[in-house]
Amino acid sequence: MGVLAYRGVSKRFGGRTALDRVSLEVGTGEVFGLLGPNGAGKTTLIRIGLDILRADEGEVSLFGAAPTPQTLDCTAYLPEERGLYRRAKVRELLAYLGRLKGMKRAAARDAGDHWLERVGLSEVADQRVESLSKGMTQKVQIAACLMNDPELCVLDEPFSGLDPVNVALVTELIEERRRRGRTTVLSTHMMHQVEALCDRVALIHCGNLVVYGQLDEIRRRYSPHEVMVWTAMDLVALGVEATRREAGCWHVELPSSATPAGYLNDLVRSGVLVDRYEPLVARMDEIFVHLVSGGR
């Protein structure tokens, strides 16, 4: 049983269908990528999962049951459209948000201080939010999100507005959560982060679930039947078919019956001195564009 599961969830706003019978499951301890173009229905799906919105049809289960205030205490959410009380002081605000998650006053204050230190903002603890930069505010929000060590954390575009150093910091925090068996749902348009972090992904488009599964398996599924061969030798002269050379490597489209391993064996046997060999795997941004634009 997954941490968060949707079964046939639909949601309409007036005459517009935001989600149409979506079913998916987020497993325990994984980093799950929720992908899709703007307006695809990702935020609606997240909101329904966290009981902020109610589905018109279908079922949602959180930790194996319908969401309750108690199970929601074990979750945290960093929404894409986010903000903080501008006039509040950072430390007081974190303590308040911790209290809203059911933490005791002292524990919330301690956790707030601890997480401010983790994200490198201890020195601004007594400043008002309005005095912070955009990046600092974002880190305060991430600290607020992680301070109760939630079993499930939903991060919607956590990297936007962060410099590379802070992107690395947030990446490390997500990795750390995975190592500790905590589940993270990551919604982002930064596909290289998806490739680097996610175990499984789901792609929503126009309210429909278009792709769902293991990241590696999906990338393989949408990859061309090609390999890349780095060699100083001229493969065309050696009579290798369907070959083109790009950026110092040969792209070879394999016959439908061939496998990459078998083909490498054939190359070596035919006397090609292979420096480097790699089956071509589609990048997530390519898959995204392919699926969203309908192959255009």
Partner: protein, 424 residues
């Protein structure tokens, strides 16, 4: 609903408001300002009165026309003196102007009056003030009506019989009455004063109640707009239910409003106690209205506040939220719009009807209890509170649902059908 979460929201909202300068200034500054103004006015008056008391309270009278009845004067220290009133004002009779002028110049007299030889034909009485006396101060001096009375008495002494003599001295004592259902009804002075106090206090209390209600509701509208504009809504909703947020905001900001109301109404209580002490013999203070006012504030605020919160949540920003909630505020001030009718007929059909409408009942009950407590039955007071309580429960229930819908709105308003569907 979880009490701890409600308490956390309430505490945060309460502290957010009470730490603001505008709140502190409005709550404590207003009574302090009024106290400072009243204190200054009283202080200045007291100062001048004490200065005046320190001055001589003796006046000189020179009777050149020989018309003043000497029987009112008694001899003392070789002079004829007339105790003009029960204060220390005293009139000394001088035989000639020079003696009086010397006494005036020495500061023994505040002023001297000369009844000239041709007084009977001209009626002129010369008033001469000390050089130190401010120009305008003699105009309002209290001795002159008494001198006029003395002259009137002296002129008719022995010329008219008893009653006629009295009527010339005191020609009319007005007795006021009103034409009531059972004929003319005499209105005593104490009753008129009583009515004045009875209408002033409820009016003042009513305006305070309404101001505090609308002020607290204004904070609610503001806080929802802040939540929406600062985009923290989803973070809140992923941690606590809309009902808990609504309840927390209501309690937190309601407490801030209640403190404001308590501070303000303490002024009324002080005024009432002062009035009670000063006019205890003929004025009764509406203690019943004062006693139920806090309860009515709480109920009225919870009812109006939950509606305000739900409606404010539908607005995209503060200005839009204020426009949307204006209707509720207009309904709440309805009793003030028809105040004259309520004061005239507190227990008439309008007063009775408005007692049962939750929007108008807090203010109406206070006015009715203040103006004529005997005309409102105890079951009406309890009943109106029960109606208010049930309406509050309903408005919180529906309000929380609308609040959930409205809280997440950032663009266009949902249709009424959609709102109804969500609110069920």
């Amino acid at each position: 609903m979880r009490i701890q979460r409600i308490a956390a929201v309430a505490r945060f909202e309460f502290l957010s408001v009470v730490k603001r300068w505008s709140y502190l200034l409005t709550t404590f500054g207003l009574p302090l300002f009024l106290a400072a103004v009243s204190g200054t006015v009283l202080g200045v008056q007291t100062y001048f009165l004490s200065q005046r008391a320190a001055e001589s309270s003796q006046f000189g009278l020179v009777d050149e026309a020989k018309v003043v009845d000497r029987s009112s004067f008694v001899e003392g220290d070789g002079e004829l003196r007339w105790q003009a009133n029960d204060k220390a004002d005293e009139v000394l009779l001088y035989e000639n102007r020079d003696a009086a002028r010397r006494a005036l110049a020495s500061g023994a007299l505040r002023a001297m009056y000369v009844i000239e030889h041709d007084y009977l034909t001209t009626g002129k009485v010369l008033a001469i003030e000390s050089e130190k006396t401010p120009l305008l101060s003699m105009r309002g001096t209290s001795i002159e009506p008494l001198l006029r009375k003395l002259l009137r008495k002296s002129l008719i002494e022995g010329r008219l019989d008893g009653d006629l003599h009295q009527r010339v001295i005191s020609p009319a004592q007005f007795v006021r009455s009103r034409l009531g259902p059972e004929g003319e009804e005499v209105v005593a002075l104490d009753e008129a004063l009583n009515l004045l106090v009875r209408t002033t206090i409820p009016l003042f209390l009513g305006i305070l109640l309404l101001t505090a209600l609308l002020s607290a509701s204004g904070y609610l509208v503001q806080t929802v707009s802040t939540d929406k504009e600062s985009k923290i809504v989803e973070v809140l909703l992923s941690s606590v239910t809309p009902e808990e947020i609504l309840a927390g905001k209501l309690f937190g900001l309601g407490t801030a409003g209640l403190i404001q109301f308590a501070v303000w109404s303490s002024m009324v209580v002080v005024v009432a106690i002062t009035a009670s002490a000063a006019f205890a013999s003929f004025v009764s203070i509406p203690w019943g209205a004062l006693a139920v006012a806090p309860l009515l504030f709480i109920l009225g605020y919870l009812f109006l506040g939950s509606l305000m919160l739900a409606t404010a949540a539908l607005g995209a920003n503060a200005a839009e939220s204020q426009k949307l909630t204006l209707g509720w505020a207009m309904l709440a001030i309805l009793p003030l719009m028809v105040l004259l009718i309520l004061l005239e007929e507190p227990n008439g059909i309008l007063g009775q009807a408005m007692t049962w409408i939750p929007f108008t009942s807090p203010l109406t009950v206070i006015i009715r209890l203040s103006v004529d407590a005997s005309g409102i039955a105890w079951w009406e007071v309890i009943g109106s509170m029960l109606v208010l309580l049930i309406s509050t429960w309903l408005s919180i229930r529906v309000g929380a649902r609308l609040f959930r819908v409205g809280f997440l709105l950032t663009g266009t308003m949902p249709s009424l059908a959609e709102l109804w569907r969500q609110a069920r």
